[in-house]
Amino acid sequence: MQDATAAALEVRDLDIAYRVRRRDRQVIRGLSFRIGQGETFGLVGESGCGKSTVALAVTRYLPENGRVRTGSIHIGGQDALAMQGEALRQFRTRSISMVYQDPGRALNPSIRIGAQLAEVFEVAGVPASERMDRVEAILGRVRIVDAGRVMGRYPHELSGGMLQRVVIAMALAVDPTLLILDEPTTALDATVEAEVLDLIETLRAEMGSSVLFIGHNLAVIRRMCARVGVLYAGTLVEEGPTREIFSHPRHPYTVGLLRCLPRPGLSKHQTRLDTIPGFLPTSLADVKGCVFAPRCGLAQDICHTTEPPLIPVAEGRVSRCHFHEQAPNLPRTTPPAPPTNRKKIPAFRPVIRADNISKTFGSAAAPVYALRDVSVEIWPGETLGLVGESGSGKTTLAKLLMGLTPPDEKGIIELNGQKLAHRATARQPAELEALQIVFQNPDAALNRSQTIRGIISRPMKKLGGYRGAALTERLSGLMSHIRLAERYLPMRPRQLSGGLKQRVAIARAFAGDPRIVVCDEPTSALDVSVQAAILNLLADLQAEQGVSYLFVSHDLRVVRYISDRIAVLYLGRLMEIGPAEAVFNGPHHPYTESLMAASAAEEASGQLRLKGEIPSAMRPPSGCVFHTRCPRKIGTICETTEPELVQREGDHGIRCHLDLDQMGRTVTVEA
């Protein structure tokens, strides 16, 4: 059977192609890597680089049109590609386990958790009498306290974090030779992600599993993996110990990728983010030299003609670059200087003001308080960042301001001092023009049957009243502002990449003359290099046009980078609001403190952890709604009396019973 000394996973010269339109399309070329027993190997790359294809090939689940053309995959010494029929079934049962991104879809919704886990033991040949005990034991192993109760539940009755624990329990039940984690925390909130990462780390140490960790989140990979391989366009461009690769990258792609991330504490007023220009190659078959050369600032003639081999650059480290010594000196692709504020607006009143707005869903008998008495104002030319876990009411607040959902009667929303109708359909054209939105998912936000020209010019006609030559002029002016080439105008959204689609969505929001644009997680569906370009664009547009943003995001670093002020929501209540620096450096609300700790937990373990899940908005806790999870709870006063949102220093409001000097502070090291 299995060789105890063999590598957990050995991939050699792997070459995979998908058959599309009767032609082979290569997606993985010449990929080799090795995961030793008990080792954790990270495979990192942006979407479309082929990392999930690798996972599918290893588990032998390539779709019908996918084919391994050459190369080999050995798991624990067994040839994975040679297996057929019963042997393949046994191999999948015992040798590999996989944890997917979305735990809700990995479990059967109509089978109780206990029975579902028991199936795994049944397949593994455990006698019926022992199965339930084994299930209980494995649930205890993934730190599920009340295992008996959880076993009787259906998947929809458990939260995302709990489900992912169950899926991990399922994957570990048979003690597989190789555990594959494919973006296991991407669908989870930062606070839950932190817990799940802690769990995976502990279990790996306990069980000595060998892990292939696939992800796009560099911070998570940095924390979890001892070794990492960087995948670009189906090609391994750099491999080595994670710590060294991330601190001293030796391939221009890795360098570029790391520079795209907003560093902790960085803001748009200090520097523009660096980006990676260009796109993934359309077809790998046409690539002559280095696969990254067309996008590389260091590329010489040789890079376009000769493909570099994997060159050893240090002990256990390789880089596929002719000029790997120079990689850290990769020239910036954007000027580092931040956009200067060209358009200053005299501000004597906020551009938008929401006074005591609430939103109650459901019936009077069973009300759900999605938002309770929130007051915010946004001033001309500033960005208000909005953060909180999912279910905190961020998107609800954005929708209320836009008039997509009417707030409860008593609330008031004012635009430039004028009261706004609660529904968008009842608002004046000038009001609609002033208040626009960029949605999270450009695929749903752009009408797929219309051309880019139609999508952008319609609001110009409708809101701006542009016609004929004036329309054409305005359109090309906007296109150059958004930095979209005019040749995209006749195309339809599906012909564009995700980043370009989001640019079109931004162009549509700026088609009139918006005074405030709500950005609802505008970059969370995008890769980091594209995210950087979009954040630069938003910052530039703001500097040029003096527009204000309400920026909703769960990514604290992005919020910190783009925002001037930050509002923190929890269970529909405004917990803290103030200048970005004050909110981030503290003293801050215990909830804000926990969010920041969770964000930092992507990089390091042993931080302050927020316990449990966000409570149901149908039965919010008494007193301070955060008291059930608060790490700094004082006593009964937190359970009985809801604290007021008190202005502390300057503009900094905090809803907490604690005194300022009892609150936590975070010291960010300015890079």
Binding site: R21, T275, P277, G278, F279, L280, P281, T282, P294, R295, T333, T334, P335, M402, G403, L404, A424, T425, R427, P429, L432, E433, L435, Q436, I437, F439, N441, A444, A445, L446, N447, R448, S449, Q450, R458, P459, K462, L463, S480, R483, L484, A485, Y488, M491, R492, R494, Q495, L496, S497, L500, R508, G512, A533, N536, L537, D540
Partner: protein
């Protein structure tokens, strides 16, 4: 070039799926699908016969020959003759005319009515949707033929009545399909974006949503056409559809079925085969279209 030129895409975007190319691929897939090709050939044959039939048939469809009544199929009368000595072959060919006008028009009417009904109920939801949907369900609870017989008996039989009755009742069915498709679209953000620039509901329905739900409407239409042919033939058989002296298939079967007992099978069989082949042709085409759209 602006100072931030590096932010702009340096290379063309990947994955060029131009509408033209998609269209060409879809057509190629259709032509490779055996059911579609066979179905289309049958349809083209009957449409061609409906157009040029009267000029190519050996005998006039209504020409009686009382010396040669009820002769079995033979060289001079391929499908035999009926009780008035009319040539069955000529009548089958020419008889395709009325049904190929009435059934497609009824289907078209049904599609139009259904599309509007589905768009409105799917988009409005709430009370409008509830009221309209319950009424639709009440009508759909009645078998189509019984409903049609009631209305036609009341209004009098004619091609126009048949088109309206079948068209309206199909409209209810098509409306439910369209409504389901609209429900899948109405909460997408592009509809919210249209609301946020003050578009009227009619613009949102017909310009924003409708183009995105054309594929299911197209499939539903081809499927409905098959049912329409069948229903028109049934009504004609019952004397409530196409009226004499048309050589219509359903009508001819009803005029002759009493003769089967006497062994004069040819006076019925060939009309029945004609109806069958047309329905099969339409359904094969519909299958082909559906498989390509789903792909």
């Amino acid at each position: 070039m602006s100072a931030h030129a590096a932010d702009s895409p340096a290379a063309p975007a990947p994955a060029m799926e131009t509408p033209k190319r998609i269209w060409r691929e879809r057509s190629a897939m259709l032509l490779r699908s055996a059911p579609f090709v066979v179905g289309m050939l049958i349809l083209i044959f009957w449409v061609l016969m409906a157009i040029i039939g009267p000029w190519i048939v050996p005998y006039g469809a209504d020409d009686t020959d009382l010396l040669n009544t009820l002769t079995p199929p033979a060289a001079d009368h391929w499908f035999g003759t009926d009780q008035f000595g009319r040539d069955v072959f000529s009548r089958v060919i020419v008889g395709s005319r009325d049904i190929l006008i009435v059934a497609p028009l009824a289907t078209l009417l049904g599609t139009l009515v259904g599309t509007v009904l589905g768009l409105v109920t799917g988009y409005a939801r709430g009370l409008t949707d509830d009221v309209v949907s319950r009424i639709v369900e009440a009508f759909l609870a009645l078998p189509l033929l019984i409903l049609a017989m009631l209305v036609i008996t009341a209004l009098g039989a004619s091609n126009a009545t048949v088109i309206i009755v079948i068209g309206l009742s199909f409209g209810l069915v098509v409306g439910r399909t369209v409504r389901a498709a609209v429900l899948g679209e109405r909460d997408l953000d592009y509809v919210a974006a249209a609301n946020l620039r003050g578009e009227r509901p009619a613009y949102i329905l017909f310009v924003e949503i409708l183009p995105n739900i054309l594929p299911p409407i197209l499939v539903e239409t081809t499927v409905r056409l098959g049912y329409a042919i069948f229903t028109v033939a049934s009504l004609s058989f019952l004397g409530l559809g196409i009226q004499p002296p048309s050589p219509d298939w359903g009508l001819s079967i009803s005029q002759n079925y009493g003769l089967i007992g006497g062994g004069f099978w040819w006076t019925v069989l060939f009309y029945a085969l004609a109806i069958g082949s047309l329905v099969v042709g339409v359904n094969l085409t519909a299958d082909g279209v559906q498989s390509v759209i789903d792909a």
